[in-house]
């Protein structure tokens, strides 16, 4: 999560308008879900790779890491699609099952990749104005952003506290580990409350009046980038559809 977040903040496309990225990711998602998967899937993956790695300059390994977790779930479910169970033949391999599995695989991977592109290229502050425009109430957006900020503070606290516990042999054996873990959680709760009170003092020193007003970043929509995204989506759709017809001819 930390690494994904870091790429979102530092990639080459961080200054691009989030709506552009949403358009590309949403368009690709729509294509992968609605169009024939065997041909659309690979094209979507290619476009995501081009956009993420070649465009935004994010290492391919990072893209792979984001896709790995949902990808692993996908892989583990594949055998159940390939193998069919029936009373007459027992467990059997079926070619129809294989085709279904490939379709599911292509469709899911393409959808995951579209979302991975979005999370890797869009930092959280770009989401706030977008969510507001989509009608999410201000307090919800504020809480979301505050939680985001505090996650890192607490993550750091958790790491240092558990390291300090380990340095005093707190994680030697299961019994002691459980005990230490309990203490860790308790201390985090207490510290979070204390930190919250101090944050309140800090905010009050800057005339906090109940609303976390900050300047929103300014993004500019670029007509040519939107045109590029549009043509990319059209290409994906065309290749997906035409390729599928071609594939059907070859198969018969």
């Amino acid at each position: 999560m930390h690494l994904t977040d870091q790429h979102a903040w530092t990639n080459r496309w961080r200054q691009h308008h989030p709506a552009e990225k949403l358009l590309l990711a949403g368009g690709l998602l729509l294509c992968s879900v609605t169009l024939p998967p065997l041909t659309t899937g690979p094209v979507v993956l290619l476009v995501v790779w081009l956009a993420t790695v070649a465009g935004a300059g994010i290492p391919a390994a990072a893209l792979g890491r984001v896709m790995a977790v949902p990808g692993a779930f996908l892989l583990t479910s594949m055998p159940f699609l390939v193998l069919s169970v029936s009373s007459s033949e027992g467990i059997a391999f079926s070619s129809q099952g294989l085709e279904t599995a490939l379709r599911v695989m292509a469709r899911s991977l393409a959808a995951i990749a579209s979302m991975a592109f979005l999370t890797l290229t869009t930092p959280v502050i770009a989401w706030a104005p977008l969510l507001r425009r989509l009608g999410v109430p201000q307090p919800i957006v504020e809480i979301m952003l505050l939680i985001y900020r505090l996650i890192f503070v607490f993550a750091e606290q958790t790491v240092t506290t558990s390291q300090a516990q380990a340095a005093r042999l707190g994680y030697d054996g299961i019994r002691r580990s459980l005990h230490s873990l309990g203490l860790l959680v308790a201390s985090l709760l207490e510290r979070s409350l204390a930190r919250m009170r101090r944050l309140e003092i800090g905010l009050a020193a800057r005339n906090f009046d109940g609303e976390l007003r900050v300047l929103q970043p300014i993004y500019e929509l670029s007509p040519w980038r939107i045109a590029l995204i549009g043509s990319a989506l059209l290409t994906v759709a065309a290749v997906g559809l035409l390729g599928n017809q071609l594939l059907a001819k070859v198969m018969t």
Binding site: R149, L199, I201, A205, R206, L212, V214, Q216, P217
Partner: protein
């Protein structure tokens, strides 16, 4: 003597649980000067600072701003905090926003400035602390020193007349301290009154115009830096030590005007050295220039 901009008169503060934090404390903050509130850990320095921007309200005594007792009404508090900026010791207690730029913009927007004016304030604050390259960074990716400077920028963007810092050098490396002091000196040149709480006597000695020695909830003595820090008994009573520069000067017999920095001391020693070597025959090192 410069006019007194902010003062505490005989204030008491007891935390719930009967912990007496302040006991008959009085303090004067002179306009345009650098005041160090010097005291050991746990002596109530932070409690005092929280009184100076109205976060805590004294149970006895009063705070005077521009010679008048302060009001704790919401509007008056906002005006007070716009003029007296407080930087907390732990920057993570102050930085709430995901991005540096947004965090700095928080104060100016709360002061009711337009987005345009706020942008200008943010740019100036970034420039004042020499952190322009951090503007678009995520708050959680910064080092402690960087976070500290962002926290200060967030207060400076509000253009306070008095800037109060709680242990500003805590957690900074030597270079970080030097950079911070340069920035603060620039602010003072621009007319800002500076107050900082510290337990570092050497920092207070080299940097402050005036010192208030603080112990067990009271100011034991406030005055000119050299005069106050030359008082050994006072420092001992406050569980502090004598600054090393003064220690050396006192060991050498004392001086009317002791050096305030390491460079000044070295210059003094070089003069001393050249006098004592006057009769010798071996060639001396060429003086610079």
């Amino acid at each position: 003597m410069s006019p007194i901009i902010l003062a505490a008169r005989d204030i008491d503060y007891v935390y719930p649980g009967h912990v007496q934090a302040l006991q008959g404390l009085s303090l004067d903050i002179e306009q345009g000067r650098k005041l160090a509130v010097l005291g050991p850990n746990g002596s109530g320095k932070t409690t005092l600072l929280l009184h100076l921007n109205g976060t805590l309200r004294p149970q006895r005594g009063e705070i005077l701003f521009d010679g008048r007792p302060v009001s704790y009404q919401r509007r008056a508090l906002n005006a007070w905090r716009s003029r007296v900026g407080l930087v907390l010791q732990e920057p993570d207690d102050q930085l709430f926003s995901a991005s540096v730029y947004q965090d700095i913009s928080f104060g100016p927007l709360n002061q009711g400035l337009s987005a345009l004016e706020a942008r200008e304030r943010v740019q100036l604050a970034l420039a004042a602390l020499h952190i322009e390259p951090l503007a678009d960074r995520a708050t959680h990716m910064l080092s402690v020193g960087q976070k500290k400077r962002v926290a200060i920028a967030g207060i400076l963007a509000m253009r306070p007349e008095v800037l109060i810092l709680d242990e500003p050098t805590a957690g900074l490396d030597a270079q970080g301290v030097a950079q911070l002091l340069t920035v603060l000196e620039e602010q003072r040149q621009a007319g800002t009154t500076l107050v900082f709480a510290t337990h570092d006597v050497d920092l207070a000695y080299t940097w402050a115009d005036g010192v208030a020695v603080f112990c067990d909830g009271r100011v034991l003595r406030q005055g000119e830096t050299v005069a106050v820090l030359s008082d050994r008994e006072l420092l001992h009573a406050a569980r502090l030590k004598t600054p090393w520069l003064l220690e050396i000067v006192q060991a050498l017999g004392g001086l009317e005007q002791p050096p305030r920095s390491q460079e000044a001391l070295l210059d003094l020693l070089r003069q001393f050295d050249s006098h004592s070597r006057h009769e010798r025959t071996y060639p001396r090192r060429r003086p610079f220039r």
